[in-house]
Amino acid sequence: MSQTTIHMNDVNKWFGTMHVLRDINLTVNKGEHLVLCGPSGSGKSTLIRCINALEEIQGGTIEVNGNVLGKKGANVDHVRRDVGMVFQQFNLFPHLTVLQNCMLAPRRIHRISEAEAKDKAMHFLEQVHIAEHGHKYPAQLSGGQQQRVAIARALCMGPQIMLFDEPTSALDPEMVKEVLDTMVGLADQGITMICVTHEMGFARAVAHRVIFMDRGEIIETAPPTEFFGNPQHERTRAFLSQILNH
């Protein structure tokens, strides 16, 4: 797994006068699993939102699967087709059933037939163990179920990279496990994953590297054993003691 999938070079971003990403340099290899953590406002969500161009950057370059995200939305469509995203708030479409949620993008973008889209949707809904709810609307599902549908919906587009933006933060505690299990299953299939999460058990289990961010900067990057066993930076230690000892 040496092939480069994502390459961020000196990326800088401002919200107005607030400098939210400072000189970010990051290379992600094909099949690699990354966990991003850090205090709120550290820029971790912003960073992954830049990767599929939900946020514009003001400096530096981002290359995804050979497509350079430049100014004025160049290559955005190509990049988004290769990158799936799962949000904190699920963002399922309330007026569409679970199946329709999964079928919309493949039908519109890949122009596949309804039957084919349905087969594909059912396949991924089975993978996340929710196929029996295919005819229901999002509002009829629990948070954990909705988030699993959201994962299946992203997978239907056949992405090579999956971004997870705090996928379990909005869930009731008893539903966190079902979503994490789904994500672990996905990791086992070898897809490239970048997860913003504070689930350190998940990080230990699947991450190849854990990245700690604070105030818009990458402070520390290390494999999980090193990251949790022997953090190098004072800020990392402070952060870990806060989230591990509560």
Partner: protein
């Protein structure tokens, strides 16, 4: 009070009133449908990334919303022939109604679109959908659902507004009543019955529109 009410001549002319009521429903339905289409186009212009398009939409919407419908009717019916556009009363009525409706609908639809959480649009974009597709398949239905009650009351107001096109002799319900008035001189009774018919029509419109809404927006929400 020694006035004797006499409704018989009005009820004898029920055929005229029925025809008029049908014309009112007809004008209203066509203008609402066309107004909805143009209104959505206006909303798109109103939210377009290009400043001149936005300015045009805002100018149009505010001009229409801040002048009386009656003056708009006169402007189209009497004024347009000067520019070479000669319309009969019915055409002028439908055209003015449509132009008028679209501005109000555009304002309502815009507030519906603005009520959609940004996460919905982001989710669509993250799936790779184009911006038109995001608005068509993801934003449209929940946006209309959010403002459907306002949209319905606007539709009812528009139906009631059609009474003004009698002033250019478009043959709808109020025009029919005025003909009966001229014939019978029973003004109060005529307009009393006319008011009752409009009241029934507006209730029917309300019920009909909310039934359409219940079918189209049948999906559950939290």
């Amino acid at each position: 009070m020694n006035y004797t009410f006499d409704f018989t001549p009005i009820f004898q002319a029920w055929g005229l009133l029925a025809q008029g009521a049908w014309a009112t429903v007809y004008i209203s339905a066509i203008s609402m449908a066309l107004g909805l289409v143009f209104g959505i186009v206006l909303t798109a212009l109103r939210m377009a990334p290009l400043a001149p398009l936005r300015a045009f939409a805002i100018g149009y919407i505010e001009l229409v919303r801040n002048t009386p419908f009656l003056v708009q009717v006169f402007f189209i019916y009497f004024g347009m022939p000067e520019l070479g556009l000669r319309l009969n009363a019915m055409e002028a009525a439908i055209l003015t109604m449509t132009l008028n409706c679209s501005a109000y609908i555009a304002e309502i639809v815009r507030s519906g679109v603005e009520s959609i959480r940004p996460g919905q649009i982001e989710a669509g974009k993250a799936l790779g959908l184009s911006t038109p597709d995001v608005y068509r398949f993801i934003v449209f239905r929940p946006a209309i659902r959010a403002v459907y009650p306002s949209l319905c009351s606007q539709f009812v107001l528009m139906m009631l507004n059609t009474s003004l096109v009698a002033s250019i002799s478009a043959q709808e319900l109020t025009y029919a009543a005025q003909m009966i008035d001229n014939r019978t001189f029973r003004s109060f009774e005529v307009y009393f019955v006319l008011g009752a018919i409009y009241l029934v029509l507006s209730q029917l419109f309300s019920v009909g529109l909310s039934m359409i809404g219940r079918v189209y927006f049948s999906y559950p929400t939290k």
